[in-house]
Symmetry: C2
Subunit: 163 residues, 2 copies
DNA sequence: CTGCGGGTAGTCTCTGCTGCACCATGGCCG
DNA sequence: CGGCCATGGTGCAGCAGAGACTACCCGCAG
């Protein structure tokens, strides 16, 4: 494995691994609670569309790392569920521009607020110092993670897209 | 939704939500890296079997919240991949006891060490204080989360099982 | 023997992904 | 202007994974 870790990277990683699993469990218990019966790829697609409203199928497929026709199928289902709008592009009529619907906006809002609520419930039971530490640590973690992955790293690819 | 949050639970939750997403992304980038082509349910099943070696199909089905025959099918695939052993129970020959194979043990070890390594790489780039804060915050979070969910809460069910 | 509980197996449905053939549009070049 | 190819999407199989329901077999215990 990696060889020249700092003095305590790995140890802390081991310590955090378990706790992170708990955070994770809490995190996506909210997902199940807020958007049951919405599959992973479907949710990912919504998030992609949210971030890049008006994206076309090719772009979506690229983001989701699938081929064009798969993305098309996926969109079929999303359109059928009333979660995305497929509008013919105004510039190039071959293209299709994808947009969220009010329905899916509400769904994403609901997901986020549910998540925050669930997280908040645990937070309320933590000590102020513990909360502060968590916020501080997580923020630095995020900053560092985004930093090392966002620039050039064809091989690394640690952070693809944060849900 | 919930009304009487403490003074800063929700605010911190919002602050953490984003960062947690990053942690999550890092966390399961390791999953993709270590165990590609192993589906979610399959991995979950392995973890259940690991925690309760010798479990029978009914137990597994209950843990995974699926019906018996679905679990049986899932095991078919796992057995076919050489990831679990299906041994007839010695006490009651109707039962089947499920065990990990050396192969799946190696796979889980690999998953965990990959995860720790990926996490460790980010950790190495964090300040010692940031690391300490993260560990402290996460540990307290875990403790509190386990505390409020493990005892009696038929409705809550916040933490089901930490992957 | 009968009943019950544990598992398997057949069949269905749905989602996700793929490959390939096909249609439409749009830009380019002769 | 009229082909021509590149590009964007769809339609049509086809496959695997997952889950469910049903029917069925087997072993155990009364």
């Amino acid at each position: 494995m990696a060889e020249h870790h700092g003095p305590d990277g790995p140890q802390h990683a081991a310590a955090v691994d378990d706790a992170a699993a708990t955070l994770l469990a809490v995190w996506d218990s909210a997902r199940e609670q807020a958007v049951p019966r919405l599959s992973g790829p479907q949710l990912s697609a919504l998030l992609v569309v949210e971030r890049a409203e008006g994206i076309n199928l090719r772009g979506l497929a690229a983001e989701l790392r699938m081929i064009l026709s798969s993305a098309s199928r996926l969109c079929d289902r999303l359109v059928a569920s009333g979660l995305v709008d497929r509008e013919p592009g105004r510039a190039d009529r071959r293209e299709i521009a994808l947009y969220l619907t009010p329905s899916s906006r509400a769904l994403l809002d609901n997901l986020r607020s549910t998540r925050r609520e669930v997280l908040g419930e645990v937070f309320d039971r933590m000590s102020p110092a513990g909360r502060a530490a968590l916020v501080r640590g997580l923020n630095e973690f995020q900053q560092v993670a985004m930093d090392t992955s966002a620039p050039g790293q064809p091989a690394g690819g640690v952070v693809e897209d944060a849900l």
